[in-house]
């Protein structure tokens, strides 16, 4: 076969593939795995906690999905869901901050990037906060800071273990220094929870970086990371630009953090609830076993 023909065939193949994909992956029923490219039945993917059954790729989950996966059925009671963000600086870069907020609300159905409340995990009573990366990259502005502070204070007041599932790019720059100060505010609240001798488990999902990784996310007794989650302080691009050298392949992954002693364990989402419950038991949490 002449080499030219071989290339022709290749071209035809690549030209056909989008159509093939379209045929076998109609919207909403099938989803292509970002890890192994296999088509996955959406219902099955959801039953599997949004983890690819073939390659264990962890799909992102929304705050409510996470609460559904991690807490006992009907045990979650949401708090402060009506706190809504303002625009302290009148910030408008390529688009006004208030437009970004409105768009995020439409997209996620949430008022802000964190959902908080009381819940049970395998019978253990907990105070829980779950971040949603879909809302402006899970960034921490006034509302996220305030809600994390409040759920932590509630946990301290009611002697409850604290569970926070993180997913955030960091501080929300559209609220300027007010956002940066939320790092100090949330850390101060966590310090009081620690001083009361109460358990705090944080779960770092993809990604946990910047001002969130450098405040409440990493102040826990036990830090759990989800497989392959990006965890670190400075973004890889900024580091590359500064030091002008190539970064290691697994840089800032959950596994990298485990190897360097920054997290206690990397836990597959399918085993997460069970692991949190086992840890809560060791940390002296109380509750009614189901």
């Amino acid at each position: 076969m002449p080499i030219g023909d071989w290339f022709k065939k290749q071209e035809r193949n690549t030209a056909r593939s989008p159509a093939v994909e379209k045929r076998i992956i109609p919207d909403g029923v099938w989803e292509k795995c970002k890890g192994c490219n296999e088509p996955l039945f959406v219902k099955e993917l959801e039953r599997n906690l949004k983890v690819c059954p073939k390659c264990f790729f962890h799909f992102p989950v929304s705050a409510y999905e996470r609460i559904y996966q991690l807490t006992d059925l009907h045990s979650f009671e949401e708090l402060w869901g009506d706190l809504i963000p303002g625009d302290p600086l009148g910030f408008a870069a390529n688009k006004p901050y208030i437009d970004s907020l409105a768009k995020a609300k439409d997209k996620t159905g949430l008022n802000e990037a964190v959902v908080c409340g009381r819940a049970r995990i395998d019978g253990f009573q907990v105070a829980i906060a779950v971040m949603d990366f879909g809302f402006i990259g899970g960034s921490m502005g006034s509302v996220v800071g305030e809600k994390i502070k409040r759920i932590t204070e509630l946990a301290t007041r009611e002697y409850l273990p604290l569970i926070i599932v993180c997913s955030s790019g960091g501080a929300r720059m559209q609220e300027g220094m007010i956002s940066l100060m939320q790092m100090a505010k949330t850390s101060a609240a966590i310090a009081r929870h620690q001083d009361q001798g109460l358990p705090y488990i944080s779960i770092l999902s993809h990604p946990t970086t910047g001002g969130v990784s450098a405040s409440f996310a990493t102040l826990a007794d036990i830090i759990i990371a989800e497989p392959h989650a990006l965890i670190g302080f400075t973004g890889a691009r900024v580091i590359e630009q500064t030091i002008r050298q190539k970064l290691p392949k697994d840089f800032q992954t959950a596994e990298f953090n485990l190897a360097h002693g920054m997290v206690d364990m990397v836990v597959n989402r399918l085993e997460l609830k069970r692991m949190v419950a086992r840890l809560l038991d060791y940390l002296g949490a109380s509750g009614v076993k189901e």
Partner: protein
């Protein structure tokens, strides 16, 4: 040698250089030259006022970064007596991007911690331009513990573009090091006074940068992200740092309006490096005043007050009233 100057200072510096050149010529002293010198000096004064009187936020950021700007060590020397520097995090190494130790402020024993930039390229390489690694923050943490143990008020100097962005910094837990300092600062049972003398770059600044009283020099800045970083994220590099600096509300004036800081120390026209002794004197006054007020509080009151102060920082709407439905 040409003097360092930002673009907006260039016309002024050129005029000053011209004056210097004339003064150096042999004919100096002749009457017509004297008149020319007097005229130039007048022009320079006018231009100086025009250049520095209404600085934009971006120009202030530039002055905050000026290579001749006084560093933490300069203020320690000018403000305190009997400074004893302490080194190391007891775990990995001594990070020279942060310095600290015992000192006396107006006779009172205190602990001082600050970001330390270099004065020249050689020193800046040693001190990483004031950008700490985790061991720098852990050195600071160790000194915070000492301050708490021996009941020494803590005074910090903030002057960093940010925490060091590097592979090793991440490997050794930059995020965790900063977080632990934030938690510790909030529970220290001694007065904590913060003086921002230059750059307050994000989390790397905050890790030694909040307390009971927060003071900023007039041309220092404190920001959630550098203007350049903001441009690269929000505009994908299409905007300019001037716009970003204006949007971020990072100047001392704006942060006082927002209730984040308490006091501003004035600087001479052109910035602190034009009269370092004067700025140090005024900053000392503010530090002494703050310390006098804070030592009246007992440890529990101090901690409660600091917590309450942090607690109220935020801008949000609760229980939004639904607009009445029109009939």
């Amino acid at each position: 040698m040409r003097r360092f100057a930002y673009d907006f200072e260039r016309p002024l510096i050129e005029l000053e250089e011209k004056l210097d050149a004339i003064k150096r010529t042999e004919s100096a002293g002749k009457e017509d030259i004297a008149a020319q010198i007097a005229y130039l000096e007048k022009q320079i004064e006018k231009l100086r006022v025009r250049t520095y009187s209404n600085l934009t936020p971006w120009q202030k950021v530039q002055i905050a970064r000026h290579p001749d700007r006084p560093r933490t060590s300069d203020y320690i020397e000018a403000i305190f007596t009997d400074f004893i520097e302490l080194h190391g995090d007891r775990t990995f190494r001594d990070d020279l991007a942060i310095i600290g130790g015992f000192a006396r402020l107006d006779g009172a024993k205190v602990m001082v911690i600050g970001h330390q930039k270099g004065r020249n390229t050689k020193e800046n390489l040693l001190r990483q331009f004031g950008m700490p690694h985790p061991e720098g923050y852990r050195k600071a943490l160790r000194l915070m513990h000492l301050a708490n143990k021996y009941r020494l008020p803590l005074i910090t100097f903030v002057d960093t573009p940010g925490a060091y962005p590097g592979i090793e910094a991440e490997e050794r837990g930059q995020a965790i090091a900063i977080a632990q300092n934030l938690a510790e600062l909030s529970r220290l049972e001694v007065p904590v006074i913060v003086a921002n003398i230059g750059e307050g770059g994000s989390g790397g600044a905050l890790a030694i940068g909040f307390g009971d009283v927060m003071i900023m020099l007039e041309n220092s800045y404190y920001s959630v992200i550098t203007p350049e970083g903001c441009v690269s994220i929000l505009w994908n590099g299409e905007g300019n740092p001037e716009q970003a600096a204006s949007l971020l509300g990072l100047t001392a004036d704006r942060l006082k309006e927002l209730g984040i800081i308490d006091a501003i120390v004035k600087e001479p026209l052109g910035g602190a490096h034009h009269a370092p002794a004067l700025v140090a004197r005024d900053l000392k006054k503010e530090l002494v005043k703050a310390l006098k007020d804070l030592i009246k509080l007992n440890p529990k009151e101090l901690v409660e007050k600091r917590y309450a102060r942090l607690s109220q920082i935020g801008y949000y709407i609760e229980n939004p009233v639904k607009a009445p439905v029109e009939k």
